[in-house]
């Protein structure tokens, strides 16, 4: 009886919590995604700012180089002088309108950097010019083998057929020069070139370390403030060709293999460079805060709901306990009452027999004795009901079937009620059709019928009519129907009349009753393999009880 309310209470607590938790998590996820998107956006913005710095620096380098390569006289000494003194330059080169490399001229005496330049520029050899220049350089130089290769350097193709080279597209007027990206040694190198009005192509190979160093100088350092543990940690870096780190800044140290939180490709000529930024994994989400809020919300809800459940449980439990106490008290009292009642009944019956032997008994005495007998029967029934109810709770009821004719038992009971029924003016109609012998517990049947008649007497006496019908539906099912013409059952009562302590009305004026009669009827019927139900009737109430014949006696 207490198990299902407990389960209900647990459900009452857990279901809302589960719902709350689920909804909270959904919300948190949604928020996380939004926050992550926002933060990634912010990080990308920051990288875009860095990209802008680098692009501006490259732009200024382009205009510097545009100026530097605006050379129209190609005297070797003055070109060397420029290379010697300009920190930005690795080497200058000049190609004449006939595609010949006039500086550094591979046929002349080269200095160290000129030689190094030509060696590394050999990747730009154009085969078409190889023979032509070989013919013209037959006589000199002594170590021609190496230099023959470099003679054929044709950088004209830079402008003509960009297909062969990595061409850096710059938004510049067509007359202006261009960046050209050139791979050798430690990474990519930058060449800036322009064609002069005189048809010569002047190019400047930049010192890679210098321009990288210049770009690093433009980028932020890891300021002391950022290194303090309070600030939002992040680390940004420039990566060349996907793996080689050029420069890092920021106080955060991501573990190796962490994917960057934001990435940005750099525009030409720095296309081989990528900007990356890292932040701790927690910073991409709304963080532990959201989880904390959710968890504390859940904890609070749990507490509130548990408190509520506890209160409900206590309130409900008090009622149940009170009812239980009542039953248990009545039960105990009933036990105590039983013995004296049995004695009263026994002596009253003895007295009745004594009175029969008296020739002329006073009618008053007979009537008074009958009252005593009826009332003590009534009391036994009540006590019997209470004890049955208690036993039913303890599941200690037993069916003790005997071979009986049910109608005999019915008649016996009706006879016993006769004086009361007569006194209350209730007409009793009997339609008894269970005359065959069946294995049925007579005490049980007796108790059922007593309760049903007692109900009619108590609640439907104003109908002045009662009908008891018996029958055997098939060989093994005994059926008993008790109908009356009383007020009938209230609309909401049909399903609840069998519940213990339920009464159609709480009005004090209504007939007294323990509220367990029908409960006992149903549980006894069920115990006997049948059931007690409410029958259809136009007026009043009708109760149908079916008992299944026991297989064993």
């Amino acid at each position: 009886m207490t198990r299902s309310p407990k389960t209900l209470l647990i459900l009452l607590v857990t279901l809302p919590l589960l719902l709350l938790g689920w909804a909270g998590l959904q919300l948190l996820n949604l928020e996380d995604r939004q926050v992550e998107e926002n933060i990634r956006g912010l990080l990308t913005d920051r990288l875009t700012e860095t990209k802008r710095i680098l692009a501006a620096e490259m732009q200024s380098k382009a205009s510097e180089m545009e100026q530097l390569t605006s050379i129209d006289s190609y005297d070797v000494d003055s070109l060397r002088e420029i290379v010697r003194n300009d920190p930005r330059l690795f080497q200058l080169f000049v190609i004449d309108p006939n595609d010949f490399l006039v500086y550094p001229d591979p046929r002349s005496q080269l200095n160290k950097t000129e030689r190094e330049f030509l060696l590394n520029a050999s990747s730009l050899i154009n085969d078409r010019l190889l023979q032509k220049s070989a013919l013209e350089t037959q006589s000199d130089p002594p170590d021609a083998k190496q230099e023959e290769k470099t003679t054929s350097l044709n950088l004209l193709t830079l402008g003509a057929s960009p297909g062969k080279f990595v061409q850096a597209e710059e938004k510049q007027p067509p007359t202006a020069g261009r960046w050209f990206v050139w791979y050798w040694g430690p990474g990519f190198h930058l060449i800036y070139w322009q064609r002069r009005p005189n048809g010569y192509l002047v190019g400047a190979a930049l010192d890679r370390s210098k321009w990288i160093s210049d770009l690093i100088a433009e980028l932020p350092d890891t300021s002391a403030a950022e290194q303090s543990p309070k600030a939002a940690p992040s680390q940004s870096q420039i990566v060349e060709s996907g793996s080689k780190v050029i420069y890092k800044w920021g106080g955060f140290r991501p573990t190796k293999g962490t994917a960057p939180s934001a990435e940005l490709q750099l525009p030409a000529p720095l296309t081989a460079w990528e900007l990356q930024t890292f932040v701790p994994a927690g910073y991409l989400t709304s963080g532990k805060n959201g989880v904390y809020v959710l968890i504390s919300g859940l904890v609070l809800s749990t507490l509130a709901l548990s408190g509520l459940a506890f209160l409900i449980d206590r309130e409900y439990g008090r009622e149940a306990r009170q009812a239980e106490q009542r039953v248990s008290f009545v039960n105990q009292v009933s036990h105590e009452l039983r013995t004296p009642l049995t004695n009263i009944r026994m002596y009253a019956e003895l007295l009745e027999r004594d009175l029969e032997n008296v020739d002329t008994p006073s009618p008053d005495s007979v009537r008074r004795l009958n009252v005593i007998l009826n009332e003590s029967h009534r009391l036994s029934r009540l006590i019997g009901n209470v004890l049955t109810f208690a036993r039913q709770d303890k599941q200690s009821l037993r069916v003790c079937p005997r071979m009986i004719v049910p109608d005999d038992t019915v008649l016996e009971v009706v006879e016993r009620f006769r004086p009361v029924l007569d006194r209350m003016g209730i007409e009793t109609v009997l339609a008894l059709n269970a005359k065959q012998s069946m294995a049925i517990d007579p005490d049980l049947l007796e108790q059922i019928l007593e309760n049903l008649i007692s109900n009619v007497e108590k609640y439907a006496s104003n109908g002045q009519w009662m009908r008891i019908e018996t029958g055997v539906l098939d060989e093994r099912l005994f059926r008993l129907v008790v109908s009356d013409r009383g007020p009938g059952l209230p609309d909401n009562g049909a399903s609840r009349v069998f519940e213990p302590f339920w009464r159609g009305t709480d009005e004090i004026s209504q007939a007294a009753g323990t509220g367990i009669g029908l409960t006992i009827v149903r549980s006894l019927a069920r115990l006997h393999g049948g059931d007690a139900t409410i029958g259809n009737s136009d007026a009043g109430a009708s109760f149908i009880v079916e008992l299944r014949e026991a297989t064993e006696v």
């Binding site: 002349s108 200095n111 040694g185 430690p186 350092d221 002391a224 890092k248």
Partner: protein
Amino acid sequence: MFNTTHVALGWGMLVVLATGSRLLAEQVELDVASAYGVLKSETKQTTWLRVGLTGFEMESDKERAPVNVAIVLDKSGSMNGEKIERAKAAAQDAIDRLGRNDIVSVITYDTTVNVLVPATKLTDKESIKRAISKIRSNGGTALFAGVSKGAAEVRKFLSEERVNRIILLSDGLANEGPSSPSELGSLGGSLKKEGISVSTLGLGLDYNEDLMAKLASRSGGNHFFIERATELADVFNQEFQDVTSVVAQNVRLKVTMPEGIRPVRVLGNESEISGQTIFVDLVQIYSHQDKHIVIEVEVPQAESGTRQRLAKVSATYLNMQSHETDKLSGAVAVEFSGDVEKVDASINRKVMEDVVAFVSNEQNKLATDFLDAGDLVRCAETLEQNNLYLKANADLFGSERLIELQNINGFQLRAVQQRDLVRARKDMRYLQNSIDLNSIDVNSQLQVPVDSAPAQPVPVKK
């Protein structure tokens, strides 16, 4: 026995032309000389020329050129403990040494770079020293970025009138950003053109001496091998002694040889040989420093009794005392004679001493190459021969300096024989840079007997 006339001839013509200098201002001295004043006639031969510039003494500290220095400190995890504390103390001492007109910036680097003190005039020494005292070590070694940021700070006050320098301290291998000796060397070369030199202080036994030496020599700065942190203070002292005694800056030499005289190679400072002309950027001259190069030339055969000019030299530099650009020029010629005695007698000991020093230095570099190739036998052999070569010439010319070099070569030989290769190699690079750049003091870390040094595990070279 030397014939004084010939010796005088051997020194060649010494012409000093000072333009626009004040009467009292002191001058750098240019000295151009040939190894022999008289060459053998009727044969093609190789000989050496020496071009030297000698600094003068600044009369007072007031006159010295203000310095613009970026102290770039490695604070990677390996610097933890005594090293970082000593480095901080040394940097603080250095700041005490400087004056109100000097400019200092302090940059620290580990995995990333931090401009701790941006370039500023030294008006508030205490706050800078406080900032230095807060340095804590951890992380990797972003050496390239550290130097780049240091250069950016120096550039803020870059001026010919100041001694522009980056002082880089590192105890480990560069492992963040560009990290090869050639990339750092190239950066050094570029900085030198800007007028910034980088002095590199290699601390302990784990730094990359090739990278550090190359960065220093290509930018015209000093390179030091400092085995023990206790020596940091002395080295900082020595470095700042140099930085605060610069008497000439932007020192450039141009040596032109007549047709027929072929320049073979230049020993010493990095130089450019373009045809018949040699260009050398000597960067700076410290007080009393004897800055010089030796040129190996091929001389065609000539008849006895003729004279041949070997080279014309012009030098320009910014006089840090007078703040004027001075121009010097000189030339050297030789006579040809069939008389072997006359030829022998014309030897110039001063030139020969430097020739021997440079040649032995080239041999020392060869020994390093053998060491790198794993050929310890030939490495030891080369050092041993070098040792004998230095000893013979020291005796011949009565040169204490050559004896000193011989000793250092001897220490290195012993270290190689004892398989103390890491120290030997670092000491070799230290020596090579000192000789090539004409450092005033040439030292060795191997002079201290190994026993007295704290036990150092010898890392396996990768």
